[in-house]
């Protein structure tokens, strides 16, 4: 990476809001980290299969965050959005004018991080902002942190449970050139709450874009959190996203990650279980074609006894796509009676498709039950034969089986309308493949 690009990024960073107090200190520290660590090369064990260095080019722009209208977003709205709180990021900047907050102020707090860091929530920001950095000591993560000045603070207040989801749209506008977006959210879920939050990543236009986001979520005692990430960006989009979930009280967190398109997608998902009896579920589906590369890295950090985690990631790899999976389960010394399961299943369809998987266990406590499994293979020939014998064409039989394969993950989306919405995206993709194949 040349000095001119670093200078360009530095200049941009120094003009962001939040240039005082803790936030300024945090972002400057992160910027120094970014300069020190640089962009991870292929030699970096965590970036073995995924190249990001080519994304840092001089023509990258940071966008103005004002080029998008509500009409542009309409095509990408999630189901029942009229009832939901909608938070919109344009090119990494929170856009209050396009957002609709439909919860009342007693339930939900939404404000820029730069305001929250100096106001009544300052101590919370101090406690939670940047907690994910220790899990991803690399330049990419630090670079996002350096731009936290344009980030957003969301807090779901204590004792509040609602059916209304919170939708977050992260939109990169590539219509005017190569755009580099860095959304950052700190999402606090206070005790005894139930909330469903979905992030939707889309690109406007067919140009090149690069999204580097960090979403930090902290769930307190007795919270029930459902988190869905839908990544459906343009064919020229690159995406590095980190979702960091921290359980500071005994609670249940459920995360589903759906990756459908783009050029290079990297999803980091961390579950940090800091308290006894925590429970977490992680599910992921990658449905890929073209030359898309999707890299899912997950970390489950079991710090205390009696925690449970369950993980299932599936990938359908068509054409020349590549699926990468790395799942780490850490069980620390004191975390006895941990139950942790992990499974990764890949179906290779394309002649040039490839799957790289590395399930990883690191265990320091003896009284635990941990297992992982992974498979790479084709569609079951006998199942195909069964369907063909009953009069289904090859393409339909294949679509049916793949849809069933994906259903294990789709079923994990608890919010009914959203599940149907994602199911439709998946079905469309499979049907599209059928026409392509004929």
């Amino acid at each position: 990476m040349s000095q001119t690009i670093i200078d360009k990024i530095t200049e941009q960073q120094s003009n962001l809001p939040g240039r005082e107090g803790f936030l300024a200190e945090f972002t400057d520290r992160s910027m120094a980290e970014f300069r020190r660590l640089g962009i991870p090369a292929v030699k970096h064990e965590e970036w073995r299969y995924t190249r990001v260095s080519g994304l840092f080019r001089l023509e990258m722009g940071f966008g103005t965050g004002t080029s998008v209208t509500a009409a542009d977003i309409d095509a990408h709205r999630l189901p029942d959005h009229e009832e939901a709180t909608e938070l919109v990021f344009i090119d990494g900047r929170f856009a209050p004018a396009l957002s609709n907050i439909r919860h009342n102020e007693k339930e939900l707090v939404v404000m820029p991080l730069s305001d929250a860091a100096t106001g009544e929530h300052a101590d919370k920001i101090r406690a939670h902002l940047g907690h994910s950095a220790a899990y991803h000591p690399d330049g990419i993560q630090a670079l996002n942190a350096a731009f936290a000045g344009i980030g957003l603070f969301v807090m779901v207040r204590k004792g509040f449970a609602t059916e209304k989801p919170i939708y977050i749209y992260c939109i990169a506008d590539s219509r005017t050139g190569y755009v580099f977006a860095q959304p950052r959210t700190l999402f606090l879920v206070e005790a005894a709450t139930q909330v469903m939050v979905a992030e939707h990543y889309v690109t406007l236009g067919s140009g090149e874009s690069f999204t580097n986001e960090v979403f930090e979520l902290c769930a307190e005692q007795d919270a029930v959190v459902e988190y869905v990430k839908i990544q459906d960006e343009g064919p020229m989009a690159s995406h590095v996203g980190t979702t960091h979930v921290r359980q500071t009280g005994r609670c249940l967190t459920n995360a589903v990650t759906i990756s459908l398109s783009g050029r290079m997608v990297r999803n980091n998902l961390n579950m940090v279980m800091e308290v006894e009896h925590g429970e977490s579920h992680m599910h992921g589906l990658s449905l890929l074609n073209g030359e898309t590369l999707v890299d899912n890295h997950t970390i489950v950090d079991n710090m205390q006894p009696h925690c449970q985690s369950n993980e299932l990631y599936k990938a359908v790899l068509d054409e020349a796509s590549t699926g990468v999976f790395n799942g780490k389960i850490f069980v620390r010394k004191d975390a006895q009676k941990t139950n942790a399961y992990q499974s990764n299943k890949n179906i290779l369809i394309g002649e040039k498709a490839s799957a790289n998987t590395k399930p990883q266990l690191e265990i320091f406590a003896d009284d635990v039950k941990c297992s992982h499994g992974c498979t790479v293979g084709r569609l079951d020939e006998e199942a195909m034969f069964y369907l063909r014998a009953r009069g289904l064409g090859e393409a339909s039989a294949r679509a049916l089986l793949l849809h069933a394969f994906a259903a294990d993950i789709l079923d994990r989306i608890g919010h009914e309308p959203l599940r149907r919405y994602v199911d439709r995206l998946v079905s469309q993709r499979l049907a599209y493949d059928i026409h392509n194949g004929q």
């Binding site: 790289n356 998987t357 399930p359 690191e362 320091f364 790479v376 293979g377």
Partner: protein, 482 residues
């Protein structure tokens, strides 16, 4: 069963590391340190041809440009490569004509280790090549094997007598530049075993090499080369021990296996280098590169290893499945106790079509040890219908040890099927309770359960080895229960 358990217990209570004695024999050492002169000295001592010296020097020069790998999940103070003696040979009459001429002290050493150098012990039916420190001291059953055209001798002998074979195959499977320790080994290797099975011959007995480090401050760098021509079969055993010393000693070996069409090679190791004492002081650094090449179609290479010794193990016996329909297998039991660290596993590289591989790895950690499985299964773009199944299970005894798994799976062909599964758990309390109830005390119950846990791998070992390995398992885990 009771008797057997009592037997194990007896062993357990009496011995920590029973091979820890030192043999008082004079040895002929090179000065400490490593330089081109040392490489020339070793080559000169062995009376080697010019091309081999060149080959060594090339490896040495390459080694100078390399850095020690830091990626394994092990932790040790930096090794001072200038503080090691790279050549140490027991002083004895040049080239003994018969076994009677071998230094009796030396012969006693091997008797203590339970290795028969006396050919009258034909019952065991195992041909042995014994390597002490850096030099092969005796090879048994040589003549008998020669009748079938099998060559089984020390590496230095092979260099003198079969230079054409050595030149053809040495470094062909593990290139000198492969990694830091292969480069080092290639530069300074002092001896090892060479085994050549001609086409169509089924080797009538188990071949075995016994390695022993005796002298202090030395490193052992041996090289084993096995060539199995088309249609041949050989089963090969390797055993290792070393005296107890407070300093760490380095063992960096290379094993190369070449399998021609329809050839089968079975390689079994019981590695019992000195693991260090209970405080983690001393012990062998075991940094070994083992690789087999299934060059011909329908060939098969199988690695079986029982790893109980060494303070640090760094070892990945691999198979390159180049020939169509070739088979690679890896069976491993790795036990770590006290402060031992093991980072071991395998690589299966599928290049040919219809190639198959199977990995069974059992890790047992106790004390404050760390045990890692690291494996790679790679299916290349052109390897149609490749099949792999891997299973790695870890057992934790105690809450201060760690078990880690790092499997890498890279599939580039949609017709390949790769499966991997791994579990980590402790010995079930209900299993121990079941044994207790039937009058088996806890220590024996644990030994029993562990033997059951490792059975899949033990079954792959030849008979004589299996018994030894089973005892070793129990000894290694002494005191870790309760």
């Amino acid at each position: 069963m009771y008797e057997e358990n009592d037997d194990i217990l007896q062993q357990v209570t009496t011995s920590e590391y029973k091979y820890g004695f030192v043999t008082q024999i004079e040895s002929d050492d090179a000065p400490k340190g490593l330089s081109e002169d040392i490489v020339r000295f070793i080559s000169g001592k062995k009376n080697e041809p010019e091309w081999l010296l060149e080959w060594r020097l090339k490896a040495y020069r390459h080694w100078l440009t390399m850095e020690e790998p830091t990626w394994p999940n092990v932790d040790y103070p930096p090794i001072n490569y200038q503080d090691i003696i790279y050549y140490s040979a027991p002083k004895q009459k040049l080239a003994p004509n018969s076994l009677d001429e071998i230094d009796p002290e030396l012969r006693r050493t091997f008797e203590k280790l339970g290795i028969s150098l006396q050919e009258q012990k034909r019952l065991t039916g195992v041909a042995v090549d014994a390597v002490i420190d850096s030099v092969s001291v005796a090879t048994t059953f040589k003549d008998e094997l020669a009748k079938q055209g099998i060559i089984f001798c020390s590496m230095s002998e092979a260099v003198q007598e079969h230079p054409e074979l050595i030149r053809k195959y040495i470094g062909s499977v593990v290139p000198t530049t492969d990694n830091y320790f292969t480069a080092l080994n290639s530069a300074v290797f002092s001896d090892g075993s060479f085994c050549y099975i001609p086409a169509g011959v089924r080797c009538p007995m188990e071949l075995s090499t016994y390695f022993r480090i005796n002298a202090a401050n030395t490193g052992q760098f041996e090289r084993t080369l096995i060539v199995a021509e088309a249609g041949s079969y050989v089963s090969y055993l390797e055993g290792c021990t070393a005296p107890m010393r407070d300093e760490n000693q380095l063992h960096a070996a290379v094993v190369e296996i070449f399998a021609g069409e329809k050839a089968e090679v079975k390689y079994s190791t019981v590695q019992n280098w000195y693991p260090g004492d209970k405080e983690g002081k001393g012990g062998i650094y075991n940094f070994v590169t083992k690789r087999g090449l299934c060059q011909g179609d329908h060939s098969k290479i199988s690695w079986t290893q029982v790893e109980t010794g060494s303070s640090i193990t760094w070892k990945y016996p691999s198979v390159i499945l180049k020939g169509d329909h070739s088979i690679g297998e890896f069976y491993s039991v790795a036990v770590t106790n006290n402060f031992q660290q093991a980072d071991t596993g395998t690589k299966m590289i599928h290049l040919g079509s219809h190639t198959r591989s199977r990995i069974v790895s059992k890790g047992i950690s106790a004390g404050r040890s760390n045990n890692s499985y690291r494996g790679l299964v790679q299916v290349a773009r052109k390897a149609d219908h490749a099949r792999n199944f891997s299973q790695c299970d870890s057992l934790l005894l105690g809450d201060k040890c760690g078990a880690h798994t790092f499997p890498y799976i890279e599939v580039k062909n949609p017709t390949g099927i790769v499966e991997h599964e791994a579990t980590t758990s402790k010995i079930g309390e209900d299993q121990i309770f079941y044994c207790n109830q039937r009058g088996v005390d806890t220590e024996s119950a644990v030994a029993l359960i562990i033997n059951g846990f490792a059975k899949e791998v033990m079954n792959q070992l030849p008979m004589e080895f299996a018994v030894e390995a089973q005892k070793l398992l129990a000894i290694s885990l002494e005191g870790s229960v309760g």
